[in-house]
Symmetry: D3
Subunit: 311 residues, 6 copies
């Protein structure tokens, strides 16, 4: 019967090894090359004919090198007669570019979906997308894994139900915040931040909902510059919260973000390792998604349900 | 040069005539037939070779007859050598079925997109979609027109800024509510309604945000059974609002909805005629989107920007 | 190994159960919903990953609801990672709309084929199509089962070869009638019915071929309003036939058709249960295609020939 | 504005010239080459960028060279940036192979349709197809021109209505025969020919319908070996007809067919020049379809209806 | 498990039998027919549902009949529900037409690739293509087998390294010649032949590189008219070579080529049986590729590497 | 009528301006953004509905950012309803990765072709591709412009025919070298460089052909590290050439390449500005392709031949 072949891009070698270990397979040998002319190249070093190929790539800087490397691996696997190719994308590239909210702009999350299929992917596994509709940009089966169980279980024991509130840093994130709030049986609040029409300056965010004296847990799908997160923390402090935690699934930290977090009033932050981060600090707790991804790969390989893993 | 051909499905003849009049064209003659075996059929009764064909169909009951009639018209136009086929869909069919939020369900809004393209549509014009990502389900140019200007202009004069609040009936609708709130420079609130974990009964909705003593304007993209809307009205009254209005773009009223609205505490309701409604009552004010659609068709025909129409 | 999953649309539950029983499988649990807004929805309630999925839907009123429900089931199964999806369509929707015999009309039987493929069907099984070319509208393997053996075997013993004639009610059906005539080794006749050029009224049909004093068996692929059938019966009586039987594969009866048949000179009628009919009357004999469909599903599942089932 | 470019395959230079003359255009210069290795090649010798290209090829022996030459011309025109490519196919290749009436055979008429589209045709014009469904094998606009007017007008004056009958040489051709019969207001008959079940020999054909003492006009879409035609003639003579004419649209004569016809009891035969034939004999009258094709090309070029040309 | 089904076109029955014998399978029974109207037809005479189908066709005269027969077999196999279809093409049709080196010409090698996929091929196996880029004309896995080992092993013992040189008959063939030269560890030379600008006559070829007194081995991928080959031989003799051999993979001899070779100064020629040739002469040695093809089919069937067969 | 819209990627602003000036158009305003998360974004700032859009991007470092930016621009233009999108690619990305010459590698030049089409390009213009077959990786019209005229005209006056030779630095480049040699009416030579089988070290290159005492002009399509070029220069010096020039179309210089050239024995080098280079040195002469590209864009826009520009 067709074997699992787990091929790793160069984005997150540690996660790849962790998954391979859990699956009790060796990583499929692949050579990644960057030529002197900045062209990427790869060569799968063993036959994968007819096998069940999983290609792991998460989106890290430099982002476009990661996208191209992913497409090259899929192309190589397809014409090497892979039996089935599943792209495993813990942090989906260009995930925030998911709608045409201005005229004459690209919708890059959809373009990525198109390109994965053009290159030859037969299915896709993602983790906590910015918008669920991205799954339907594909014309191939696409799964979204959720880290909600992983994150909430970590937190549950530390929460006093009557004194805690889930906060979304913006209105678009409220459905996700509500999903966590339901899971933890907590109330909700949301920050609304606007530009002043005259000055065009952003006015300080307003917290909609009751937060005074409470432990606020800010929930977001990713953190990048941490600006919005820390503005939310600031607004919450102003509103008299007792303590602020944050749960951000994808730690897509830009340059100074980690330092800014360390120096902020934020008490603690929980993230997954969907993106590799430098030595986690005291404030930032990293939970591994490797067991979730490994189980998903195993279930897909054996034709078993994936939705049961996080329901 | 290619002419505008405006072909109307049988869903909304009044709107079709209104648009045709504004465009100063005659509706393209088409015969719609339902055979004794319940099969639909149509015949375009004049040559449309090379012409710029716009096919107007909004989603009304029976919904699936409307979808099939639309596909039949596109198929007939395509093989009749239309120059370009634009499907004009004021109320997009199955618009709420836009994501796979449970395992093993269809995403029908995306399936509709696929079928329109398979049948032969070259472009699509929609109005106020439930989620903007639906545009990116298409691989053909797709426009979304917005009725925000139309609705807000109607309301603006009646609003006292300091005593009015925009309310979203659920967390998913908050970005739309915020869009209206920004346009009218008003604050926001949102209703959160949950099932009790033990009893599985829906608890009464909680209003997040300040509404006491204010004029609340509930904003939603569509109204169907009106249950959620009227629950929101109820919760707002409980919270001591002074008055409640509603702006719901698509009046997709199910059987008793209009009656329930008439009998409720809701003071007034503004809708568009994206869906034909029976004689509007005193409470329900209908604003016509025909000028917006006519202008969009004209601009598309002449290769001019559509986004300028509602920016 | 991949299992058979037999999923039933809501068109013909009795046939579905009959086939499931013959296959010794349980029907795959699926929930069919019609929302208050007339939108259909379905949810497959058990994992079908990698399985060999057969979706049964026959075309009954309301026809377009049936088509959409079929497409929704296929869509749900595809993105639920079905191994292979076979649409089993005993009475193919819009089967008579198979050619563009006027300008600017749809060819809906072909559009249905396109949509089945767009939704995700991998293969199709049909029964006695109006025209064999419909199979070639598909770009996926498509089988046509024939009920000729079932029907002829039922009749064979009752026929006196020298005094019986097969009659087609129109010229287009003559090849089918001839196919039955060859099977039963009987001569042929055909009715030709024309409009009077001046009056535009249909003149009574003329029987071409010898029928006087014989037992005439009218063969048609479907019966709908029964108008043509009963005109044929009338014309045959006028020509002095001794007795008239009818074999019509698909009993797509419209409202009063069964009553008109009961009251007519037609002696007996044989149909299949490709479409569910109300309590069969004394005149109308219903033969079950469930064994044929069950055997076809079994053979497809095991990679065995289907053509051998009716050759 | 884009010009008509009329490109001729090597199948029927005379027809190409005739059409070009009627259109008042020069044939687009093209070089057709057969290399020493039997590979075909062509080179369009003038720029056709953006032009409205019509490629004329009828199916003559050697049939497969004609098909490949056609595909090569389309390929060359596509990548030479033709504005639109219309394949004009008076006698469609493999037209009789239009259905899968045995297991495991090709449906070559559909394969041809697929290949024309793959090569780059944007539309297709055909003449009197064997089955109308072939048009729906295409996913591009496809027209069928009919020669019925041309043929019937030639015949009309020579017919005594009360003493003439239209005869189809087989049951499959009866709808076409009926179409001609309606046009000429004449009755119908049909030949049925069967194999003896024991001996497997073909028994002589039986004429169904009244022909005695009449002038019979056999109508068929094409004549190849002329075997069926001459068997029909024979059967009609046996039944006592007074005179037999034949109208066969496509003169696809195989080797001895013309000689056999000359020596037969057939009085006269009318064909079109959809296929070039050697010097027409006394019995065989050739009517030119060039005016019909030229008018169709003109109308397509100017975006006017084609169906009006033969209705 | 799915079986190997080896289906042979009519191009090279001897090779088909040889491969079948090596694979220890019977050739799948297929009937090839040429109708009186020059249309080809085939019927696969046994069920191949779900099987692993290999269709063998090499390009021989008449070339276009071979291409169409190949497409018909693929079409028949596809709609007969083959599990997988691999086209095995020892001599790829139109292999030399692989680039658009003049305006407005077809690139037929790419068109062939498109048509194979349109007809339904799932993968392709070729042997020694004129240009490796042809593999990338396909969007399905495509293998190129190489006969270099077979040919070089035959020759190795006969070569005196210090007195032998590999010669390419033209600059385009030099990479192939170099590939052989590296394999045999020999130096290189190449012939350059130009037209005189004034007279437009081809001047005699010039040999670039040292050949005097040596044994020259001309390497080419195919031989057709043998004109270039014999010009090269002539030029080499003029330059004082001691002896000339030739290795030409595909013996696509046109009419008099073999005779011309016999009468030339060429000492010996080695070819494969990728194309059937008449009784090999004393000078022409034919090596069989059947073992290579059989092993490739076996490995593909069992999901094993093909590249190992000739590395 | 549709206007030319010339949209420039950020790869080569100088060339874009030069072309715009020659075309007498303004560059279409576009904003290019790199977000803090390293995601690229662009917004076309004016309506391009129905216009004839040309998107200029050449491949420079960082290569993958350039590819993604190109795809984003195409995506934005497509859904902004561009009339036609032509990608103008002076130096095609990944041009050297044009064949699968090892198992299990990507063919990235073909993948790029696929992605351009998936994103929405309608046609492509390239300049001097590494292999002409790349044009046939596309299923849209693709032009290759040649700089041969530009380069040769610059050189012609400086050449003494009898004492000059064109040299290819490797066997694969010989056809290009020959093309230049024919244009300048000069003889040919080629360098062959091999690895020693035992030591695996590259042995010094051998010059095949006569070069002693001559002026050698090395011709290559691109120069990157300049290693091969300078090895060729070295080998030529060793063989006693009098002087060495080089013509390399695409100056894809890697870091130290320009410095190494300056310090080498190479007398002079001619390149185009298909890639921007830092201040050209005394040895390196840059010729502008802007006039060629501008003329090609103009001709494409007006439906005129492009091949005439360089024949």
């Amino acid at each position: 019967m067709a074997k699992i072949q787990l091929i790793a891009g160069s984005s997150h070698p540690h996660l790849a090894k962790e998954i391979a270990k859990l699956l009790k397979v060796s990583l499929t040998p692949i050579e990644h090359v960057r030529f002197a002319n900045d062209n990427l190249f790869c060569r799968i070093e063993t036959s994968i004919r007819g096998d069940d190929v999983f290609i792991l790539q998460t989106s890290v800087r430099p982002v476009n090198d990661g996208v191209m490397e992913l497409l090259l691996m899929i192309d190589a696997a397809k014409y090497a007669s892979a039996g089935r190719i599943t792209a495993v994308l813990p942090y989906y590239p260009y995930v925030r570019s998911d709608k045409k909210d201005q005229p004459r702009i690209p919708v890059t999350a959809r373009l990525i979906a198109d390109m994965l299929q053009t290159a030859g992917a037969d299915r896709v596994v993602t983790l906590d997308l910015h918008a669920l509709q991205i799954l339907s940009f594909f014309r191939i089966p696409a799964d979204q894994l959720l880290s909600v169980k992983l994150l909430c279980e970590h937190l549950r024991s530390k929460i006093e139900s009557n004194h805690t509130v889930i906060v979304s840093p913006d209105v678009g994130g409220l459905p996700r915040a509500r999903f966590y709030a339901k899971n933890l049986n907590l109330p909700l609040a949301v920050m609304d931040k606007r530009r002043d029409k005259q000055s065009q300056k952003v006015k300080m965010g307003v917290i909609i909902g009751e937060v005074k004296g409470k432990h606020a847990i800010v929930v977001d799908d990713e953190v990048n510059t941490a600006t919005t997160l820390l503005e939310t923390v600031e607004a919450l402090k102003t509103q008299g919260v007792r303590k602020v935690s944050a749960m951000c699934i994808h730690p897509a930290f830009s340059k100074d973000a980690q330092k800014k977090i360390e120096q902020s009033f934020l008490d603690e932050m929980i993230v997954t390792n969907s993106i590799p981060i430098e030595e986690a600090s005291k404030k930032i707790k990293v939970l591994s998604i490797a067991p979730l991804l490994a189980k998903a790969i195993e279930n897909i390989h054996h034709g078993q349900s994936v939705s049961t893993l996080f329901e």
